[in-house]
C-alpha cells in the first residue's frame, strides 16, 4: 500500500511546513516515508513543491499517475503536476492566485480557470475547491492557510485526527489554539463541499 501526496505553492505560503507535519505524522504512525522538497530559490519568489510518500515506497519521487492527493496552494502550480495525477485521485485546489511580476500588469495572461479545470477533468481528477485564506482569516490568523489545508487533507486521506493534531502542536511555534481551529475548520469544510 502506498499513499502519495503532492504539495505545491509559492515561497512564503508554508508548503514545506505543511509537508513536514505530514511526514512527521507518517513517522509517528511507524510508516516508511520518502519526503522530497524542491525549494530552490523560493524565498526569491519561485515555486515550491514537496512530495510526501508513505507506505511501501522506495523512490524519492511520485511515479506518473500515482498521486493519491494533491494540495495546490497556488492555483496555476497544479499545471506542473498533471503527469502525476492518479485517475480518481483527489486534487485540493486553493482559491489563490499569485502573479509573477510580468503578470501583475497583464493579469489576463494568467491561465483561465476553465482551462485548468478542463485539464484536471481530462486527467480524471476529483476536485475539491477551498478558500483557505478566507477560512484562516475568519479565525484571525490569515497566515494559517496551510493549516486549513492540512485539515482538508487529513479528512480526505483519513488521517488519525488526534495523532495529526499532536504532530501539529509540536511543529507550530506559537498561536497553537488558533492553528488547531484552522485545522478543524479545514477538516470540517470538506463534507459540504463534496
Amino acid at each position: 500500500m502506498q499513499h502519495n501526496i503532492y504539495l505545491a505553492g509559492v515561497g512564503g505560503q508554508g508548503v514545506v511546513r505543511l509537508s513536514e507535519i505530514i511526514a512527521g505524522y507518517a513517522m509517528k504512525k511507524n510508516e516508511k516515508v520518502k519526503f522530497y522538497k524542491e525549494i530552490g530559490l523560493a524565498q526569491r519568489g519561485g515555486p515550491v513543491h514537496c512530495e510526501v510518500r508513505i507506505g511501501k515506497v522506495f523512490g524519492p519521487r511520485i511515479p506518473p499517475l500515482s498521486s493519491d492527493v494533491m494540495v495546490i496552494m497556488e492555483l496555476s502550480e497544479v499545471l506542473k503536476a498533471l503527469e502525476l495525477i492518479k485517475p480518481k485521485g483527489m486534487v485540493i485546489l486553493n482559491r489563490k492566485r499569485v502573479y509573477p511580476i510580468d503578470m501583475m500588469v497583464h493579469p489576463e495572461r494568467y491561465p483561465k480557470e476553465e482551462e485548468i479545470l478542463k485539464l484536471l477533468k481530462d486527467a480524471k481528477a476529483e476536485i475539491i475547491w477551498i478558500d483557505a485564506e478566507k477560512i484562516a482569516s475568519k479565525i484571525g490568523l490569515p497566515i494559517a492557510e496551510n493549516i486549513v489545508l492540512l485539515g482538508v487533507l487529513s479528512f480526505v486521506s483519513s488521517f488519525d485526527k488526534k495523532c495529526i493534531i499532536d504532530v501539529l502542536r509540536k511543529n507550530i511555534p506559537r498561536k497553537i489554539d488558533k492553528n488547531i481551529s484552522a485545522f478543524n475548520r479545514g477538516y470540517e469544510a470538506v463534507n459540504p463541499i463534496r
Binding site: 526569491r44 519568489g45 522506495f58 506518473p64 499517475l65 502550480e77 485539464l119 481530462d122
Partner: protein, 615 residues
C-alpha cells in the same frame, strides 16, 4: 530508534556516531546541510566544526587532523572537489592516521546550477576507494564504514552521494554516538609526507594501489548485494537503485540484480560471478557509464556474449537525475515488454503551454538590487548602451544580476572566476570597459589570486565586490567577512584591507541603498586607468531582518501614483503589487517591505513615501 533524516542529516549523524573530531567544508548545494546540522552542536560534542574558506583548505585541515590521529572529514559539493583535488591527490598518496573521509555530493539534473559532473572519476584519478550511497540509511551506515575502512587500510576514503539522496528525507535507524577524544600525535616521516624524490612518490603510489585492493576486500560483502533469479539482470548503483526497487515492487518483476556500493575499485569478482548467470543486462547508473564501461571490459574478457543495455546503446541518458519513468522505460527495453500506461502526452503538453513561469529576482531589500541598478545607471551615465559593456558574474546570489530587470551579468564560470575571465577580455582587445562582479564569500574563496594578477599585470578593470556579509545563497553561512556574532571566537577579515593588501590603489566603499551616490562612484571607477575595486556593502536583508535590524517601511501615496510602474519594471521588488483593476492602475507596497528605499529614489512622481506609522 528511527528518525526522519535527509541524506545529508544522516551523514551528520554518521559523523557523530564515528567519533570524528574535526569536520570542515565549504557550503555548496547539495552538500551544505551536513555542517549546518553539526555546527550548532559543536560545543556540546566537543569537536571542531568549521566553514573553511574553500574546499582545498578544508581538505588540508582534515588531512592533517587525521595524520595527527583524529578521525576527520572534509565535505563539499562536486565543484568543490575540483578545488580540493590538488591537495587531495597528494594527501591520498601519503595516506592517513585516524580515519579520513571526503564526502562529496554530485548533482545530476543540475538542480542547483553548475555542471553535471560525475565525481566517481576522482576516485580513479586520485587512487582512493569510493563508496556510493543509494539511500538515506546508507548515508549514515556508509560514513561509519568509510571511517573504519580508512583506518584499516591507512588511507582516505571517498563517500559519494547525489542530490536526490542528500536532499530527500526518509526513516533512518540511529545508532550509538561515540566520543573518541584521541590524543594528537604526529610522527615525522618524510618519505611518507613529502614528495621530492621519484622513488618516494612511486612508493606512495604503490601504497595507494595496495590500499585500494584491501578496501575492496573489507567492504565487499557489506556494500555489494547480489540476487539471482532470471537470466535477465540489472546492475544498479547510487540513486537509480531506489527507483529500480520501486519498479520491481510495482510491477512484481522477476529479475536478477547486483547492487554495487563501492565504485572504486569495482567488485570485479562479483561482477564476473553475476555475468555468468545472465545473458541480458541493464546497467543503471546516473551520469557517465562509469560502471558500464568496466562491465563491458569484464564481459569481453569472460568471452561470454551478453547484451548490455545502458548509455552506449542509447537506452539511458548521460544527463539528468533519473525519474521513475526513465528507469521504467529502460526496464521495458531490458524485458522487451510494456509495463504501464502513462499520462496522456496531449494533457501534459496542454498543461506545459499554460504553466506560469516564475522568474527569480532578488529578495525584498536585497542589497544586490541596488548595486546592479547603480551599475546599469553608471554605464548609461558614461554614454554606453545597455549590452555594450561586458560584466562578468560569479557564483552565488550575485549572479541573479543576469536576470531581468537588470540583465547586467554576461558570464558565470566558477568560484572567483569573474575576475580572471574579465582580464582575458581585456587582453583579447575589448576596448570598452570590462567589469567583474563577485560576492564576499566567493571573493575570499578564490577571488584573491586573480585580483593580484590584475594588479600585477596592470589590467584596466573594475571589480565590484557585493559584500552582504554572508554566504547567503546556500543558507546564510558565515565567512571571514561576516559580522562577528555573539560568542564567536573568530576574527573578522575586512575585504577593503584585503584589496589594499593585494596592491589595489583605487578602493572605495559604496552603499547599495544609496544608489544615486553609488552610481557616481562606479562611473569614476570605470574611468580609472588601472584596477579599481568597489566594495558595495550592506548586510543580506534576510539576515539583517533575522537580527532585528529594521528600516522604516515605505508606502505609496495613491494621490501621486500614476500607475506608470517604473518602480516595478526597474526593480522587480517582491514587496510590490500592481493593481490594474483601478482605472489608472495603482502600486502597492506590501508589509514585507524592509525599507531599502530604492523605489523612493526611482519614482518619477515622488509618490513613494516613508510610512510614518511603521517608522
Amino acid at each position: 530508534m528511527k528518525k526522519l533524516l535527509t541524506g545529508n542529516e544522516a551523514v551528520a549523524e554518521g559523523i557523530i556516531e564515528s567519533g570524528a573530531e574535526v569536520v570542515c567544508g565549504y557550503p555548496g548545494t547539495p552538500s551544505t546541510e551536513v555542517i549546518q546540522t553539526l555546527l550548532p552542536q559543536e560545543k556540546e560534542l566537543g569537536i571542531h566544526v568549521e566553514w573553511s574558506i574553500n574546499e582545498k583548505v578544508a581538505s588540508e585541515i582534515a588531512a592533517a587532523a587525521s595524520w595527527a590521529g583524529k578521525r576527520a572529514i572534509a565535505i563539499m559539493k562536486m565543484s568543490g572537489l575540483n578545488v580540493a583535488s590538488d591537495s587531495l591527490c597528494s594527501i591520498i598518496y601519503s595516506g592517513c592516521g585516524g580515519g579520513l573521509v571526503v564526502y562529496v555530493v554530485d548533482d545530476p539534473g543540475a538542480g542547483a546550477g553548475m555542471v553535471e559532473q560525475d565525481s566517481r572519476y576522482y576516485a580513479k584519478l586520485g587512487v582512493a576507494p569510493m563508496l556510493d550511497v543509494s539511500s538515506q540509511q546508507e548515508s549514515l551506515d556508509f560514513v561509519k564504514l568509510a571511517f573504519e575502512t580508512s583506518e584499516e587500510i591507512g588511507g582516505p576514503v571517498f563517500l559519494r552521494s547525489t542530490a536526490s539522496i542528500s536532499h530527500v528525507a526518509s526513516n533512518v535507524e540511529i545508532g550509538k554516538r561515540v566520543k573518541l577524544k584521541r590524543e594528537a600525535h604526529f610522527e615525522r616521516n618524510i618519505s611518507k609526507y613529502t614528495k621530492p624524490k621519484a622513488s618516494w612518490c612511486m612508493n606512495q603510489h604503490q601504497d595507494s594501489l595496495t590500499r585500494l585492493t584491501r578496501a575492496s576486500k573489507i567492504v565487499d560483502s557489506k556494500v555489494n548485494k547480489m540476487h539471482l533469479e532470471e537470466e535477465y539482470g540489472v546492475i544498479a548503483s547510487g540513486a537509480a537503485w531506489e527507483n529500480f526497487q520501486e519498479a520491481v515492487n510495482r510491477y512484481n518483476l522477476k529479475l536478477s540484480w547486483l547492487k554495487i556500493g563501492i565504485v572504486n575499485p569495482l567488485p570485479e569478482e562479483k561482477i564476473k560471478e553475476f555475468l555468468k548467470e545472465i545473458d541480458r543486462l541493464l546497467v543503471l547508473e546516473e551520469l557517465e557509464p562509469f560502471i558500464e564501461e568496466e562491465v563491458m571490459r569484464i564481459s569481453f574478457l569472460s568471452g561470454k556474449k551478453i547484451d548490455i543495455l545502458g548509455k552506449f546503446d542509447g537506452t539511458l541518458s548521460k544527463m539528468g537525475n533519473y525519474s521513475f519513468k526513465e528507469v521504467k522505460d529502460s526496464l521495458e527495453a531490458l524485458l522487451k515488454a510494456k509495463l504501464e500506461l502513462e499520462q496522456n502526452p496531449e494533457i501534459i503538453e496542454r498543461a506545459e503551454k499554460l504553466e506560469v513561469k516564475r522568474p527569480t529576482s532578488f529578495c525584498v531589500g536585497c542589497p544586490h538590487r541596488g548595486t546592479y541598478y547603480a551599475i546599469n545607471r553608471a554605464i548609461k551615465k558614461l554614454k554606453y548602451k545597455k549590452g555594450e559593456i561586458i560584466v562578468t558574474g560569479d557564483i552565488g546570489c550575485t549572479i541573479l544580476g543576469m536576470n531581468k530587470p537588470f540583465e547586467t551579468c554576461w558570464t558565470e564560470v566558477a568560484m572567483g572566476a569573474s575576475i580572471g575571465i574579465a582580464q582575458g577580455f581585456k587582453w583579447a582587445g575589448i576596448e570598452k570597459p570590462v567589469l567583474a562582479t563577485i560576492g564576499d564569500s566567493t571573493f575570499f574563496h578564490a577571488g584573491i589570486p586573480p585580483l593580484i594578477n590584475a594588479v600585477y599585470q596592470n589590467v584596466p578593470l573594475t571589480v565590484i565586490i557585493l559584500d552582504n556579509g554572508w554566504t547567503a545563497m546556500t543558507g546564510f553561512e558565515e565567512n571571514p567577512g561576516t559580522i562577528p556574532l555573539k560568542e564567536a571566537d573568530t576574527v573578522r577579515v575586512d575585504i577593503v584591507e584585503v584589496c589594499r593588501g593585494c596592491g589595489v590603489k583605487d578602493v572605495s566603499v559604496i552603499d547599495p541603498y544609496q544608489s544615486k551616490e553609488a552610481l557616481d562612484v562606479i562611473a569614476e571607477a570605470i574611468k580609472h586607468p588601472g584596477v579599481s575595486v568597489l566594495v558595495s556593502r550592506r548586510e543580506c536583508s534576510l539576515q539583517a531582518r533575522r537580527r532585528r535590524i529594521s528600516l522604516p517601511k515605505l508606502k505609496v501615496n495613491p494621490d501621486k501614483c500614476t500607475g506608470c510602474r517604473v518602480c516595478l519594471s526597474s526593480l522587480a521588488c517582491p514587496a510590490m503589487i500592481f493593481h490594474p483593476e483601478d482605472n489608472k492602475g495603482l502600486m502597492e507596497i506590501t508589509s514585507s517591505c524592509n525599507g531599502c528605499g530604492l523605489c523612493k529614489d526611482i519614482c518619477p512622481e515622488e509618490a513613494i513615501e516613508v510610512a510614518k506609522d511603521a517608522a
